[in-house]
């Protein structure tokens, strides 16, 4: 038993719903009690889909238990097939139905339906949403794909994009364009937009592009093993990763893969002098493993940030993220407990967080700017505009995403120079964000904040001076000073200690 307030991932059957909702001509019959239909709103409200997810819930109630929930399942199954006329159905149980052990798979098998029935075994008390999506897609591919000759032209499948995925809609469009520029056609995109008939055609492609390892890797591995289709290991998020991806595609296909980079603006945006202020900004990165790995590279190599911590919530990615953390000389935080993440962020006091909706809330509480780079996300992170993450346009989009929460270069200096100005002060926040400005309230002196370390005391002068440091670097200054004091065996921080520490850490 584990006490949880907010979760990064839903239960595994929600992962199955992400696959079913992404596809067309597939229906999911879910043995579930009243109330589990809440999951529909993830798709209709958060992602603003204009169709109900193709899911029939058996909706059993207490009075059904012990009488005949099995018949209820069969009726729902038959009704769904009659009403929605799907090409195939997937059947499974939610967490409660798993406990009553009705065996949806066995029940559906005895019904003699004329369409393929794909049973799902998703252990609700062990695994989570991403596993559910990955496993569901794998079972669908395994059940429906048909051996066949390769297409005459060089083609690939794009595997992994689902409903509720982070920017999957636009990533599919961007990568399709990129591959087309390389002279490669897309055979099938799946699950997003694919029908069961399309799944049957998967083995016709020459190779697979694994766009989202979280939700497509099991299927990609199976296709490699069974149909000898290699799959790409690089997810093309960021400038370097996109170039690597193109090289990888070249190696797989033997095609001379070179790409026109005239639309790629990110490198110049990052090297132009207006971006100098980004240098060495301390960032903490947390999300799903794929996006975290991509953003660690972008942050260090393409933005010039300093990565102070990385982590992921999906344990399936723990190993690569730990390895990556080692390479970056930081600790990897593998947890799905947002309180632990908050603790880590508080301790590291970064200048910026790259995270999920959880980290945005943490950042809001701690006063640290946050850019959202990974699922799970809220309705405002499903933008109307085109905003891919992959490919060259994705790199452009990410540059904009990462600088938006920050106070810009010259403004930083002005804030430092005129920090007592009644309009232009710390609490007003970055000037390009609306709705925050508030007139400065004259205070004699704010209550003294708790020092982060128990072993040092801030003398009043030093504490006052600390308050004069702009908010976006104050946390770092406090931390550096305390670390410096501890190293030097100083127990009381004076004005001098503060400036000695500043000189010590100058860069």
């Amino acid at each position: 038993m584990k006490l949880t307030v907010w979760t990064y991932e839903g239960p595994p059957h929600v992962g199955a719903m992400r696959v079913a909702t992404a596809m067309k001509g597939l229906h999911y019959v879910l043995h579930a009690p009243q109330g589990d239909t809440y999951a529909d709103l993830l798709f209709t409200m958060i992602e603003r889909r204009n169709h109900r997810p193709p899911v029939s819930y058996t909706t059993f109630q207490a009075r059904d238990l012990g009488s005949d929930t099995a018949t209820l399942f069969k009726t729902s199954c038959q009704d769904a097939v009659d009403r929605f006329d799907p090409q195939a159905i997937i059947v499974g149980a939610s967490c409660t139905a798993e406990l009553i052990q009705d065996d949806p798979a066995g029940l559906a098998e005895t019904m003699g339906l004329s369409i393929p029935v794909i049973p799902l075994e998703l252990p609700s008390y062990q695994r989570k949403e991403n596993f559910g999506a990955d496993e569901t897609f794998y079972q669908i591919v395994k059940a429906l794909s048909q051996p066949q000759d390769r297409t005459s032209r060089v083609t690939c499948n794009i595997l992994g994009p689902t409903a509720l995925g982070f920017r999957h809609r636009d990533d599919v469009e961007e990568i399709t364009g990129l591959l087309s520029d390389l002279g490669i056609d897309v055979n099938v995109v799946a699950p997003l937009g694919a029908t069961p008939d399309d799944i049957a055609r998967l083995p016709g492609a020459h190779f697979n592009v694994l766009l989202s390892p979280e939700t497509g890797e099991a299927a990609a591995r199976w296709l490699e093993k069974t149909h000898s289709q290699p799959y790409t290991k690089t997810v093309p998020i960021g400038v370097g990763a996109t170039r690597d991806f193109i090289a990888e595609v070249g190696a797989i296909t033997g095609l001379p893969c070179r790409l026109d980079e005239s639309r790629l603006r990110m490198p110049w945006w990052s090297s132009s002098v207006a971006s100098t202020y980004l240098t060495g900004k301390r960032v903490f990165i947390f999300g799903d493993g794929t996006h975290v790995a991509a953003h660690a590279r972008i942050a260090r190599d393409e933005m010039g940030f300093e990565v102070v911590g990385i982590g992921c919530y999906n344990r399936e990615m723990a190993r690569p993220i730990r390895a990556l953390a080692k390479e970056y000389g930081v600790n990897a935080l593998i947890t799905d407990d947002y309180l632990e993440v908050e603790q880590a962020i508080e301790t590291l006091s970064p200048e910026m967080i790259l995270g999920t909706q959880m980290e945005r809330h943490i950042g809001k509480r701690l006063g640290i700017p946050c850019a959202v780079i990974s699922a799970p996300v809220h309705v405002q992170d499903f933008p109307a505009r085109y905003s891919p993450q992959v490919g060259f346009e994705g790199a452009n989009v990410i540059f904009d995403t990462l600088i938006h929460p920050l106070v810009m270069g010259l403004e930083e200096h002005l804030l430092t120079m005129f920090r007592d100005d009644f309009e232009f002060h710390d609490d007003a926040g970055p000037s390009h964000h609306g709705g925050k400005a508030k007139a400065k309230v004259d205070e004699v002196f704010e209550a003294v904040e708790q020092p982060q370390s128990d072993n040092v005391i801030w003398l009043t002068d030093a504490e006052k001076e600390l308050k004069k440091i702009p908010f976006f670097v104050r946390g770092k200054a406090r931390r550096n000073t305390e670390t410096f004091a501890l190293e030097k065996g100083i127990s009381e921080i004076s004005l001098d200690t503060l400036y000695e520490a500043k000189a010590h850490y100058a860069r």
Partner: protein, 427 residues
């Protein structure tokens, strides 16, 4: 006192009800925790359930409103399913940790879920045991918010019903007002009743455990929400008497509700008129303005919160709408009867749900406004129907005179929005 007149073509109390069973597009009772934990400021709601329960609470809340809310889910894991004795030990440990970290918590609700009911974790036994451990500082109660037992707002009912047996006994003739209301609305209600000379007024739920809510055979109680059937039964078991009335939505409902209490407490005509005249006039004016877009329009209710019947009464009698179908998850005659008496005959009353059949009826009827849950709203909008998502009716202050205009406004906004947008491509 002007009594609301029943409709000339007769009310709906005895009208045939279409009862359906099938897929239900509704929340389970856990959802009530979202507003109950704000209402009871010293309470913590600990759901004993699965990852699905935690995910539901997070999704239904829409956003993570509060950094550390006063609710959480003790997520059952494989090992808890294997040995129930261990599950109890684990629960004790989690509760001890929680209470050590949150000394502000004075009442703890152990909330049962579908999985905990199916594997039969006895939460009443756990509550008793934990009460003994943590008394007197913390009171531990339990109720079920599971989907196999409760539909959406029934979660609040189950919660309040669990509190009734532990209320202190009183012989005083007091008014107990039952149902979680936003504080601002509750204060307005208390103000109106106090001005009529009625008091002290006891509240269930009280904002804090130390409050003096008590019950006995001299207690009379009024319900502010139409979904409190079990609480109603528990209070009657304690000897309290229900003051039946239409629910306080709109001018007419509020007046009828207050009047029933006024009669019970022998308030004079003059006093009643003096207290209600000004807010009534304001409510009428606000409703008239806010309901302009609603007059002559039709409405179709999908079952959601049990507010459907009183709201249909408000929309048809005060906002000039006609109802095509009024669906409610459950209909209790003792609670919904007074509203059904006033609801003009003509629409289909339905109880329960088979969502695909009901969608087919709504599509055939093409109502001007469809009141439904979040899972259905956008798909229906995409089919060209205007919708009002029902959960907003539970999350927004809508009771009594001063909110009557806002209530009408909640229904008219989708129609107004449709009329102001100019997004159609040129032909």
């Amino acid at each position: 006192m002007n009594v609301p007149l029943p409709p000339t073509n007769g009310g709906c109390r005895t009208a045939p009800v279409l009862k359906e069973r099938g897929q239900r597009e509704v929340f389970c009772g856990l959802t009530g925790i979202i507003w109950l934990h704000r209402k009871m400021q010293d309470a913590f709601f600990l759901v004993v359930g699965s990852r699905t329960c935690a995910h539901l609470l997070q999704s239904a809340a829409g956003v993570m409103i509060f950094a550390e809310p006063r609710f959480g889910t003790a997520i059952l894991e494989e090992s808890d399913l294997a040995g129930l004795a261990d599950a109890h030990e684990e629960l004790d440990r989690e509760v001890a940790r929680l209470l050590a970290r949150r000394p502000d918590i004075r009442q703890l609700f152990l909330v049962g879920s579908c999985p905990s009911e199916v594997i039969k974790i006895d939460l009443s036994r756990a509550a008793e045991r934990l009460s003994q451990v943590h008394a007197p500082h913390v009171r531990v109660l339990n109720y079920s918010g599971s989907g196999i037992e409760t539909t959406f707002t029934q979660g609040e009912d189950a919660c309040l019903a669990s509190m009734v047996p532990v209320l202190k006994e009183t012989a005083a003739r007091e008014l107990l007002v039952v149902g979680a209301l936003p504080d601002v609305v509750e204060d307005q209600m208390i103000g109106l009743l106090a001005d009529m000379g009625i008091g002290p007024i006891r509240l269930l739920p009280a904002r804090r455990i130390d409050d003096t809510t008590a019950v006995g055979s001299s207690t009379v109680f009024a319900l502010t929400q139409p979904f409190l059937g079990d609480t109603h039964a528990e209070l009657e078991r304690r000897g309290a008497r229900h003051i039946a009335a239409p629910f306080p939505f709109g001018d007419e409902g509020t007046t009828a509700w207050l009047r029933a209490i006024a009669i019970e407490f022998d308030v004079s005509e003059e006093t009643f008129a003096a207290v209600t005249a000004a807010p009534r006039a304001r409510a009428q004016k606000a409703i008239a303005q806010a309901s302009e877009a609603l007059r002559g329009k039709s409405v179709f209710f999908f079952p959601d919160s049990q507010l459907e019947i009183p709201l249909a009464r408000f929309l048809t009698r005060e906002c000039g709408m006609t109802a095509i179908e009024v669906g409610s998850p459950y209909i209790h005659d003792a609670l919904h009867g007074p509203d059904l008496d006033l609801l003009p005959a003509g629409q289909q009353i339905s109880e329960g749900q088979d969502v695909d059949k009901q969608l087919a009826r709504a599509r055939a009827a093409r109502p001007d406004l469809t009141v439904c849950g979040l899972g259905l709203a956008n798909p229906l909008e995409a089919e060209g129907l205007s919708t009002k998502w029902a959960i907003e009716l539970v999350f927004t202050p809508v009771h009594f005179y001063e909110q009557a205009g806002d209530l009408a406004g909640l229904f008219s906004r989708p129609l107004r929005r449709k009329s102001v947008l100019r997004l159609e491509a040129a032909e």
